[in-house]
């Protein structure tokens, strides 16, 4: 009898101790949402690292990085640090700018596709940021600090996007990177023309020809709308009844007035050319083509237009329009003068963008520093934030990553990730805190067992936003499609840890 009860008593005592400690514990839990933001030391100096600046200084050996009040002050050898500065010895380690993902759908509440209409310019990702998403922490642990949260690709003209910094623990508004310009998602090709989804409920358009006309028609409607308002305001309008605001057309007017950047999902060379010509006809330039997997076929035209190209490193053959996608795309476009980045489009891939960058060395032979720029300064510039982030230069935000080795090596891992001069991820801290979580978990399970309730499964509850299983069951085997650009192809099923993530084509 006593043999049985003794361990239970011990467990109960441990639990009581833990529960008492919980509020404190939760405060330090790296994965606990709504922590206080990490403190911002007045000054931080990272010593003796290989520093990849992604700026004009290139890669520096044995260099220091000095940060004050969340901004970079200086990068170079033997820097003098103010008294009391937090010193980080990074001997043998590498330091890079925080990684930037120009195409990300993590941390968005619910669906990312308002797919019901071919134009949905009025909907806004900024309204549905899920700052509690654990994806933010996991991506921080991979060195990501900034993400361009885009609407899906179901519509020719989709919703308004939002640039966030991964300020884990912050509210949705605190995550927003307010310096970044406003932008909107366009989409071309199979997705807006519904080639692979809703085949039984067709809507116009069903062809690339139709997609072009939808975009032109919307620009025309926006011009008419603007004229009506101008006439109304000037008193020239015969109609004295106040006009009704149209939020959809207002967003499109902002595009035409250069106040809202266009990021367009695209694959084939023809549709890329088409949108550039439509834009030029309306007096603006496409800021950035997303995916743009045949961009290498029209690289000179992209460079002449001035569009950026945010592509996948090596995904191909998942649908017909990407049959000619090649992993040399990034390098080829870069050689022709296009501003190129690699994006994730996927919550899993966004945890290892440095390794995506490495593929530009393997395929096409970019230099190592140019390759890293595909996930630092280049995407920062594509989202209009290059003035503040993307490189380690004086005056910029102190967003940086400490790596155990070269960021392009598959064997390297992230040790620390800093945003605004605050340490948001620290592997050493994470490892320590696991012990606390494990003890708490064991204590809670012991309590449940002691109460003779059936214990919850050892595997815990299913978790909607967490990764699916290997997805090997029951019949098809998608281990997490990488390039996830949401499509309303399959209705979201209720979550199940074991159910393969719904396959949606990028």
């Amino acid at each position: 009898m006593s043999l049985v009860s003794r361990p239970l008593t011990c467990a109960a005592a441990l639990l009581a101790a833990l529960l008492g400690a919980l509020p404190l514990a939760a405060q330090g839990d790296p994965s606990f949402w709504r922590n206080q933001p990490p403190e911002q030391p007045a000054a931080v100096v990272v010593r003796n690292a290989t520093i990849w600046t992604s700026g004009p200084a290139g890669r520096l050996e044995g260099a220091d990085l000095l940060v004050r009040s969340g901004r970079i002050v200086e990068v170079g050898p033997g820097l003098e640090a103010p008294t009391g500065a937090l010193e980080i010895d990074a001997t043998g380690k590498h330091v890079t700018p925080g990684l930037v993902d120009a195409h990300n759908h993590s941390a968005i509440t619910g669906g990312v596709n308002e797919g019901t209409d071919i134009v949905t310019a009025e909907v806004r990702i900024a309204d549905v940021i899920d700052s509690r998403s654990i994806n933010l922490y996991w991506q921080l642990a991979g060195g990501l600090t900034t993400a361009n949260l885009l609407h899906g690709s179901a519509n020719a003209i989709g919703g308004q996007s939002a640039v966030i910094k991964l300020r884990w623990g912050g509210t949705p508004e605190e995550l927003l990177m307010r310096e970044a310009p406003q932008a909107i998602k366009f989409a071309l090709g199979e997705n807006p023309k519904q080639s692979n989804w809703n085949v039984d409920e067709r809507r116009y358009p069903q062809t690339r020809m139709g997609v072009e006309q939808v975009i032109r028609a919307e620009f025309q409607a926006a011009l008419d709308y603007r004229r009506e308002w101008q006439e109304h305001r000037s008193g020239r309008s015969r109609d004295r009844v106040p006009l009704r605001r149209d939020l959809r057309l207002e967003a499109v007017v902002e595009i035409l007035e250069g106040k809202r950047d266009v990021h367009s999902h695209s694959y084939r060379a023809d549709e890329i050319l088409m949108l550039m010509r439509v834009a030029e006809d309306h007096g603006f330039r496409v800021k950035c083509f997303q995916h743009v997997l045949e961009g290498y076929k029209v690289a000179d035209e992209l460079a002449a237009h001035g569009a950026g190209a945010s592509t996948f490193s090596d995904w191909w053959a998942y649908k017909y329009e990407v049959i000619d996608a090649i992993p040399y795309n990034g390098a080829l476009m870069a050689e022709r003068g296009v501003l190129v980045s690699f994006n994730s489009d996927d919550s899993e891939l966004a945890r290892r963008m440095n390794l995506e960058a490495a593929k530009a060395v393997r395929y096409g032979g970019l230099s190592e520093t140019a390759a890293l720029e595909l996930v630092t300064i280049n995407p920062a510039r594509q989202i209009g934030a290059g003035e503040w982030i993307g490189s380690l230069e004086p005056g910029k935000h102190a967003d940086f990553v400490v790596w155990s080795g070269s960021p392009l090596s598959t064997y390297s891992i992230v040790e620390q990730t800093w945003i605004d001069g605050r340490r948001y991820f620290d592997r050493a801290h994470d490892l320590e805190y696991r012990q606390v979580v494990a003890a708490e978990r064991a204590a809670l399970l012991a309590k449940v067992r002691a109460s003779k309730e059936p214990p919850p499964g050892e595997e815990g509850e299913d978790d909607e936003e967490a990764g699916a299983g290997t997805g090997e069951q029951p019949a098809e085997a998608p281990a997490e499609p990488p390039a996830e650009e949401p499509e309303p192809e399959e209705p979201q099923e209720p979550p199940a840890a074991t159910r393969p993530a719904a396959r949606r084509l990028p």
Partner: protein, 427 residues
């Protein structure tokens, strides 16, 4: 009876061997050899009639041998994909190009090799990534059918089949707690179907044996049950697919109860929760999902990355796969980077390399022929400028059973060459 079937399998396998250039001796000199079965060494790799005859620093080059100079290069055995849809899929969203998944629950008679598309554009791309051999498996249903170890280079599926059948694939039902919702009913039904099918197969096997022995009248051949007979006889490994902890446990219990000892578990990161049992029971594992996000938000961020290290520490025999979905087939070339991530998070590097070469060969039952640079093995290897687990490394040449593979067949390289040379457009 049993014996004659085994002989038939052996004969079939020998017929499937590709004829290498007879009498051809090639010496690969000047490279660092990475045998996997032993530490790296600078030396010569001697190949005769498609087989490795010697590998090491003291190898003499026989007179008349052709020499391939590889100074500064590295030679590794081919990477081996343990579970793939290569050849059964071209473009996942175009239905006509997908032959990976059959409908119905009982597909034991389905054979992967017969639908293997020899000219799939995906194959040369995979070979450019250092994968010359893949275990190609059908999917769909409870009993999915048999996989085949395929050469990715060749003229048709017949001469590309290196070994078949490799194993019978069973998607073990998810195990439910017995609630009333539909999922659980489906699982209960699936478990019942599994039991019923085995009972049928055993009765059928008994009747067939009796008929063969002349003690009972002949019965009509049932192809599905017939295909299960080698499994019942223990001649064919059972590849059990299970991802969840309880599901894996149930699958292991079930296999033990039913007497299936020739077992391979195809699974994901949850296997780390059962590392002790898998080691103790010596169940070989194909570990998929190294790059998956944690399945539950409370798990450590690196729980999938670190799963391989946990299996290794416990003493589990495993190789690493990429998930094997139709979606993954196009990027099978990234297989080594799954192993590299496992190495970044605790798996010793030499074990990581082994997990996509020799360990895979052994688990697929081809350890005698593939997976390392050892005398007597197939001359199936790659030439690189560095560690194949590093992304920045380039794979420069590949040899399959002593024949050089034409890596320029890769459609992506052709498009690259074509557009790299595109003249600037007129303004």
């Amino acid at each position: 009876m049993k014996r004659s079937r085994m002989t038939a399998v052996a004969v079939l396998a020998s017929l499937l061997a590709l004829p290498a250039a007879a009498g051809d001796t090639v010496a690969f000199t000047g490279a660092t050899l990475h045998p996997v079965s032993a530490p790296p060494v600078a030396g010569t790799l001697l190949v005769e009639d498609g087989k490795i005859v010697a590998a090491g620093p003291e190898v003499a080059v026989p007179a008349g041998a052709r020499t391939v100079e590889l100074a500064g290069k590295h030679v590794y055995p081919s990477l081996i994909h343990p579970y793939s849809a290569l050849g059964l899929i071209e473009i996942s969203s175009v239905r006509g190009t997908v032959d990976a998944s059959e409908i119905g629950e009982l597909n034991a008679n389905i054979r992967a090799e017969v639908a293997f598309h020899a000219d799939s554009e995906l194959l040369p791309v995979a070979m450019s990534g250092g994968i010359l051999v893949a275990n190609v498996a059908p999917r769909g249903g409870l009993f999915r059918g048999t996989s085949a170890l395929m050469r990715l280079d060749g003229w048709n599926w017949q001469d590309m089949t290196l070994a078949a059948p490799v194993g019978m694939h069973l998607a073990f039902p998810r195990v439910a707690g017995g609630d009333d919702d539909n999922d659980d009913n489906d699982n209960d039904k699936a478990l019942e179907l599994l039991d019923d099918t085995l009972a049928d197969a055993r009765a059928y096997d008994q009747a067939r044996r009796a008929a063969e022995a002349g003690t009972a009248p002949a019965i009509a051949i049932d192809p599905k049950l017939e295909a299960l007979r080698p499994l019942l006889a223990g001649e064919l490994p059972l590849f059990v697919h299970a991802d969840e902890k309880k599901q894996i446990e149930a699958a292991l219990d079930w296999a033990e109860e039913e007497g299936f000892t020739n077992l391979v578990l195809i699974t994901g990161p949850n296997a780390r929760y059962l590392a002790g049992r898998l080691a103790e029971e010596e169940v070989p594992v194909v570990l998929n999902g190294v790059l998956l996000r944690p399945e539950r938000s409370w798990e450590p961020y690196d729980s999938s990355y670190g799963a391989a290290a946990e299996l290794h520490a416990a003493g589990v025999r495993f190789c690493i796969g990429d998930g094997g979905s139709t979606f993954e087939a196009a990027n099978a070339r990234n297989l080594p980077f799954h192993a590299a991530m496992a190495a970044a998070f605790g798996l010793p590097r030499e074990v990581a390399l082994r997990s996509v070469t020799l360990s895979a060969a052994e688990i697929l039952g081809m350890g005698e022929r593939l997976g390392s640079l050892e005398p007597g093995k197939d001359a199936t290897f790659i030439v690189t400028d560095g560690d194949p687990l590093e992304i920045v490394t380039r794979i420069e040449a590949a040899w399959l059973e002593g024949r050089e593979v034409d890596l320029s067949r890769d459609r992506q390289k052709r498009l690259y060459d074509r557009y790299r040379n595109r003249p600037a457009p007129a303004r």
